[in-house]
């Protein structure tokens, strides 16, 4: 096996030097009846050539990966500068462990410190952690944290949050003694309905919203923050399209108490859903309630600046069952990719990408809405996603669009909402050219007509 440095002869010598004769004796502490008598039923070892051919073959069967696509809904196609993937592949980053020994981990530690700073700047918050698994689990952890901070057990969560995020929150809170109350969204605007806020009361730990929400509608975060604060609850804001930070008012500036986001938009490949990176930020006063790792600044005896994992007493390896979270391994390398992306793009680049997304989405929405039989389902301001109501069943329309026009036109909402057969969610980013948008529009028009007849 080429990954094992010692040759069979060297291993035989080492065995003898520790007083053994056969490799099997290494396992003498395992009762004989528990040891495998036959080899595992796994394929024979492959060479690089054979192995790559196999993965190329499976990749070729992922037809959606090769098409112009208007899919968003929690995972976004954005351009990633070439240096991002180059730099994260440096051995020193990608084959290092969690930076428990600061003297020989300053590269990782400094990068995380920069990541924490960038997350604070984008979200408008005071303090951010070193990352969570993804946006959905970050949201679930935010709900648990809100309960810790307020010592209240009711959490009011909007139905305009990504349905898979809602499912994850459900799973996480089912044993935590938290009562989840779901809020309706306004059928006209697609925003969290103001009149449903009556369920907020003095037992409410948090109001949880997403903005831009699952339907692409931007919530009135400031108004919702005021309502939450009026009953002493926290406002938790989740963002799935992190590029929107480049254009939209920061949740922190609108009064949010905890902001979580999916950071995949920052230069991270789609990779069929992961690995991505969860961003998690809050106010200074809640820093000791944060889940996960934190990097802080420190000095050595000579007064030289360095960085170190800090406030570790919150974490599971010290506080065990009383820890703020069970998270250990997080998404270090993906956080690094996001850091490199954000620093390369800079404030101007992030704003320009955001603006292009919004402009192209506005163009696409205008053109689609002008097609006979097509309307936009919601009226609220939007960023780069919007729901289209088609004159025919959306899933069938999108399937035809894929097979006949080679375009993935969006996400049929029937996947999550059986009462929305004709609705589909369209996402436009800076990677979608005008040509692609025009082809989408033409395809929708032609196929809707053909499906209707």
């Amino acid at each position: 096996m080429r990954y094992i440095p010692n040759s069979p002869d060297e291993r035989a010598e080492m065995l003898r030097s520790v007083g053994l004769e056969a490799a099997e004796e290494l396992f003498s502490s395992i009762p004989a009846d528990l040891r495998l008598r036959a080899p595992l039923k796994l394929p024979e070892a492959l060479s690089e050539i054979e192995l790559l051919a196999g993965f190329e073959e499976t990749a070729a069967r992922n037809r959606a990966a090769r098409r112009p696509s208007f899919l968003g809904a929690g995972a976004y196609s954005h351009y990633s500068p070439s240096i991002v993937d180059h730099l994260i592949q440096r051995s020193e980053f990608f084959t290092a462990y969690t930076p428990y020994q600061p003297e020989i981990s300053q590269g990782t530690l400094q990068a995380i410190f920069e990541f924490q700073t960038l997350v604070c700047q984008l979200t408008g918050m005071d303090v951010a952690n070193a990352s969570m698994y993804d946006g959905s689990t970050a949201l679930a952890e935010a709900v648990l944290m809100a309960e810790r901070v307020t010592r209240r057990s009711k959490v009011v969560i909007s139905n305009s949050v990504h349905p898979e995020y809602l499912e994850v929150v459900n799973t996480y809170v089912q044993h935590a003694g938290i009562e989840l109350v779901r809020l309706d969204f306004d059928q006209a605007t697609g925003q969290t309905a103001p009149d449903s806020l009556s369920s907020l009361d003095d037992k409410t730990a948090a109001l949880v919203i997403q903005s831009p929400n699952f339907f692409g509608s931007i919530e009135d975060v400031q108004a919702l923050a005021e309502r939450a604060h009026s009953v002493g609850a926290l406002l938790v804001v989740t963002v799935t399209e992190a590029i929107s930070f480049g254009l939209l008012r920061a949740p922190g500036a609108c009064g949010a108490d905890i902001v979580v986001a999916e950071g995949q938009s920052f230069g991270v490949p789609l990779s069929f859903g992961g690995p991505y990176v969860g961003l998690f930020a809050t106010r200074d006063k809640y820093a000791r309630q944060l889940p996960g790792r934190l990097v802080g600044q420190a000095v050595d005896r000579e007064g030289r600046r360095g960085f170190v994992l800090t406030l570790a007493t919150r974490e599971q390896h010290i506080r065990r069952e009383k820890a703020t979270s069970n998270i250990c391994t997080n998404e270090g390398l993906i956080a690094l990719a996001a850091t490199i992306y954000l620093e390369t793009m800079g404030p101007r680049g992030v704003q320009e990408v955001a603006m292009q997304c919004a402009q192209k989405a506005a163009y696409a929405a205008r053109r689609i809405a002008s097609l006979a039989g097509f309307t936009l389902a919601f009226t609220a301001p939007r960023f780069n996603e919007f729901v289209v109501r088609a004159p025919v069943e959306a899933a069938a329309l999108l399937a035809r669009l894929a097979s006949e026009r080679n375009i993935t036109g969006g996400l049929a909402l029937s996947r999550y909402y059986s009462d929305r057969p004709n609705d589909f969610l369209v996402c436009v980013t800076e990677t979608n050219s005008r040509q692609e948008i025009d082809a989408l529009v033409e395809g929708l028009a032609a196929l809707a007509t053909s499906l209707a007849t």
Partner: protein, 130 residues
């Protein structure tokens, strides 16, 4: 050798209490701060909270450990040492002085009698460290 002032009462959880009228001032002992190492954070209760004897009223953190702190007597918290928020290191440098944690109005001052004297506490720490 840890410092154990004569005029204080001690608990087996390594807290000390000094009594003035019906108010007791509580902190952790020199022995405790020494075994804990550099104190980086002290969590204290709010004024007005009540605790019964041997109940945990807060915690003290070093870089890599957390210890709960227990009140040796029952009563209501009448004052907390706010300065520990900014300077938790006082628990290390002056555990019996500036490093005090809370003042409590005792609901049962007789509880003090069941605590350890300085000599008894000193013996206790010796057996514990063996």
């Amino acid at each position: 050798m840890a410092n154990v002032p004569e005029d204080l009462h001690y608990s087996k959880d390594h807290e000390w209490i000094s009594v003035e009228g019906d108010v007791g001032t509580i902190g952790i002992t020199d022995y405790a701060q020494n075994s804990l190492g550099d104190v980086v954070y002290v969590e204290v209760p709010k004024v007005g909270e009540t605790f019964s004897a041997h109940e945990s009223f807060g915690s003290v953190e070093s870089v890599k450990a957390v210890s709960e702190i227990f009140t040796p007597v029952s009563g209501e918290v009448v004052e907390v040492n706010e300065s520990l928020q900014d300077e938790p290191e006082k628990v290390n440098t002056d555990p019996y002085g500036d490093g005090w944690m809370i003042r409590i109005r005792m609901s049962n001052p007789g509880e003090v009698d069941s605590l350890l004297s300085a000599a008894e506490y000193e013996d206790f720490t010796k057996t514990e460290s063996e």
